[in-house]
């Protein structure tokens, strides 16, 4: 992780000259960041977490919906008193939602934030893309 930053920073000293060079080239500074192993790593870990997790909770949700819709007999079985299998399945959706929420927040706080922060600081300090960072036109609305 640290080595990558060095590698990125080593592409040239920050300053007007560097800006001029980078803008005349076909590759932009953001593309250079995007290509860096450090960013690719961040992106891969993000996608490897959220995509399977999304597939998982959607599959679990639609399993519940389909059972509630087409397996009335099974879902209507009493477990304790008037508590049915269907009700437990429904409460299970609450439990899984809370669990995924906490798992994601914990993972993002521990694994992603520091890396993202590090990259952001390098980009915003101008070490990578001095001059082109606020690419969006500002309307001067910030006080």
């Amino acid at each position: 992780m640290y080595a990558t930053v060095v590698h990125l920073a080593a592409t040239g000293p920050p300053g007007p000259a560097e800006v001029h060079v980078s803008q005349s080239q076909t590759e932009t500074d953001y593309q250079r960041v995007q290509r860096s192993p450090e960013f690719q790593d961040l992106r891969r870990r993000f996608r490897n977490f959220v995509f399977p997790m999304t597939a998982l909770f959607l599959a679990w949700y639609f399993l519940y919906v389909l059972l509630a819709n087409y397996a009335h007999g099974f879902m209507s079985q009493r477990v304790v008193g008037t508590i049915t299998v269907g009700l437990l399945f429904g409460l299970g959706q609450f439990v899984s939602t809370f669990a995924i929420t906490m798992a994601y927040a914990r993972w993002a706080n521990q694994k992603q934030d520091a890396v993202a922060e590090n990259l952001r600081e390098h980009i915003e300090s101008g070490a990578l893309i001095e001059g082109s960072a606020p690419a969006r036109p500002s309307d001067g609305s910030r006080a």
Binding site: Q34, G86, A135, R136
Partner: protein
């Protein structure tokens, strides 16, 4: 008020009106007074567009999460779901589950990335790497459509609630109250901007969740803290066939068609939340993506716990009030929760709960209005009409004018929508959001090849198909109650029937269609890809580089 005197007596005589209107109005008035003071105090620093639309990005995650819960737990959640569970039992529970699980889409795929790449509106993100003007226009139009359906639902809820709580049964009296609610909402948003609106949401969320929690404990205490006994009570109160209250299918199980309706609803609910513009806009009120994440975590806990309360409250209302009493009251299913409050704690608890329900409607309507105003002023006026050439305060001035116009439209629309099923109208708003907004949001964040043409195909395709299917569905015309012969559609004349699309929720058709159109439109276009814009968007979305910071005062 004198003009509606006769209907009041009539309603009271029929056992329709409950509680003491004076108590109800007094508690509600106290809420309005307190929140107005807070709104005025909070609005002193409203200078720039970032202040007005995004509250200076100065709220913390927990504050914003509570405000999101306040925004999200609308009258549909409280009154609609309690009523649906009281009457239909288990099938009403689906609304809560769909509304909750949907937050995972927002948490995992949308909230942080959106916070990092946008400034004020959903269109900021969608137009980031695409052609600005056409995409902004499309996004603003779909925002306005979603807000319109959502507003109708809230205003319809206000009418029904008024009928029950203030004993105002006449159409003119209800229209007057809807106008008062609308005028108050305009005042909040006009003066308070996003900061004032957020504080109203926070106060309301705390009151609503605390009130529902109190009632839940009360109901459970009446049944020896045994959930099974609450359910048994509801079964007993429902009389013959009551057993099906704890089984799926009581509302949607009748035919293959109603089962398809259930699937369509389930799809719209789970994919709708992450495309709701007023929810998305809330992520801009915090200083960073990390705070946006904390917001959603807080919101999921608060919303989830609240929906667990509604399960108890719905069955509790069925058990303690009884479905017949609920359905014969002026507000029908929407009155289950207030009637339960009256049954538990008499006039005083009813007064508190109804004030909370009023506050709920007021706060949600304020949140919707500021979203619509921001979308019109920022996307249509500043970017499309003026092509970005506006003075910093010009945009906010237009937004304020828009607030008044939307407020007026909401009042008129609310008077017409009065009497419609609230949870159901909200489900339509979710269908529009899931069809018109979500595909483009996901594609533009995650799909490198996605282009302007794909965005326009998907957004307009999703929006138009959704609205056309609703227009030709039984919701608008041709649905007749088989028992009473009354119309259950928006057009009350039963001889008018142009319903050729059989489903009441269009989601199962329009959502896959919009996703497909996004792919087809992208692949058919000869537009050159912009890898450098995608690189900027991807890097910024994941690292937060160049993201808007909090304003300092």
């Amino acid at each position: 008020m004198i003009a509606v005197g006769a209907p009041v007596v009539a309603a009271a005589a029929a056992g329709g009106q409950v509680g003491d209107p004076v108590v109800n109005i007094a508690i509600f008035g106290a809420f309005v007074l307190v929140t107005l003071v807070i709104v005025f105090r909070a609005s002193r620093n409203n200078k720039s567009a970032a202040d007005y639309y995004a509250a200076g990005r100065s709220f913390t995650g927990p504050q914003n999460g509570t405000a999101i819960a306040g925004d999200y737990l609308s009258a549909a959640s409280f009154l609609g779901i309690c009523g649906a569970i009281a009457i239909y039992g288990y099938d009403g529970f689906l609304y809560s589950i769909g509304f909750l699980v949907a937050w995972l889409v927002a948490l995992l795929l949308v909230a942080e990335l959106l916070r990092n790449t946008g400034r004020f509106t959903m269109a900021d993100v969608l137009s980031f790497r695409l052609k600005q003007r056409p995409v902004r226009l499309a996004a603003a139009l779909s925002t306005l459509a979603v807000v319109f359906f959502y507003l109708l639902a809230q205003m319809a809820g206000a009418g029904g609630l008024v009928a029950l709580l203030l004993g105002i049964d006449g159409v003119a009296g209800q229209a007057l109250v809807i106008a008062v609610v609308g005028a108050l909402m305009i005042l909040y948003v006009l003066v308070g901007g996003m900061k004032g609106t957020t504080w109203v949401q926070i106060i309301k969320a705390i009151l609503l969740i605390a009130g529902a929690g109190l009632m839940t404990i009360w109901v459970l205490a009446r049944f020896g803290f045994d959930l099974s006994a609450v359910l048994q009570g509801a079964i007993d109160a429902a009389g013959e066939g009551g057993e099906t209250l704890v089984e799926p299918g009581r509302q949607y199980g009748a035919t293959a068609l109603t089962q398809l309706n259930f699937l369509s609803l389930a799809l719209a609910l789970v994919l709708g939340t992450a495309g709701l513009p007023h929810v998305l806009m809330r992520f801009y009120t915090v200083p960073s993506a990390k705070e946006a994440r904390r917001s959603v975590v807080w919101a999921i806990w608060l919303i989830g716990i609240f929906y667990l309360f509604t399960l108890v409250l719905g069955y509790g209302a069925g058990a303690l009030v009884g479905p017949e009493t609920i359905m014969s009251s002026p507000g029908k299913a929407n009155s289950a929760a207030p009637l339960l409050a009256y049954e538990l704690g008499g006039v005083f608890l009813l007064g508190i709960i109804s004030a909370v329900a009023f506050a709920t409607i007021l706060a949600v309507v304020a949140g919707l209005t500021i979203t619509a105003a921001a979308s019109f002023a920022h996307d249509i006026y500043a970017s499309v009409i003026k092509q970005g050439q506006v003075a910093p305060d010009g945009e906010v001035r237009v937004a304020r004018v828009t607030v008044v116009v939307i407020g007026a439209l909401a009042i008129v629309g609310g008077i017409f929508a009065n009497g419609q099923n609230v949870a159901f109208l909200v489900a339509l708003a979710f269908a529009v959001a899931a069809s018109a907004n979500l595909p483009t949001i996901l594609y533009s964040l995650f799909w490198k090849r996605f282009n302007t043409s794909g965005a326009l195909w998907s957004m307009y395709g999703g929006l138009v198909s959704c609205i056309v299917l609703i227009a030709f569905s039984p919701v608008v015309s041709g649905k007749v109650d088989p028992v009473t012969g009354d119309s259950l559609s928006m057009i009350r004349d039963t001889s008018v029937d142009f319903a050729i699309f059989p489903l009441e929720n269009p989601g199962i058709v329009s959502i896959p269609l919009a996703f497909l159109l996004g792919i087809v439109g992208t692949l058919l276009s000869k537009e050159q890809p912009h890898p450098e814009k995608f690189a900027e968007m991807e890097v910024r979305s994941l690292t937060g580089a160049g993201a808007e910071k909090a304003t300092s005062h």
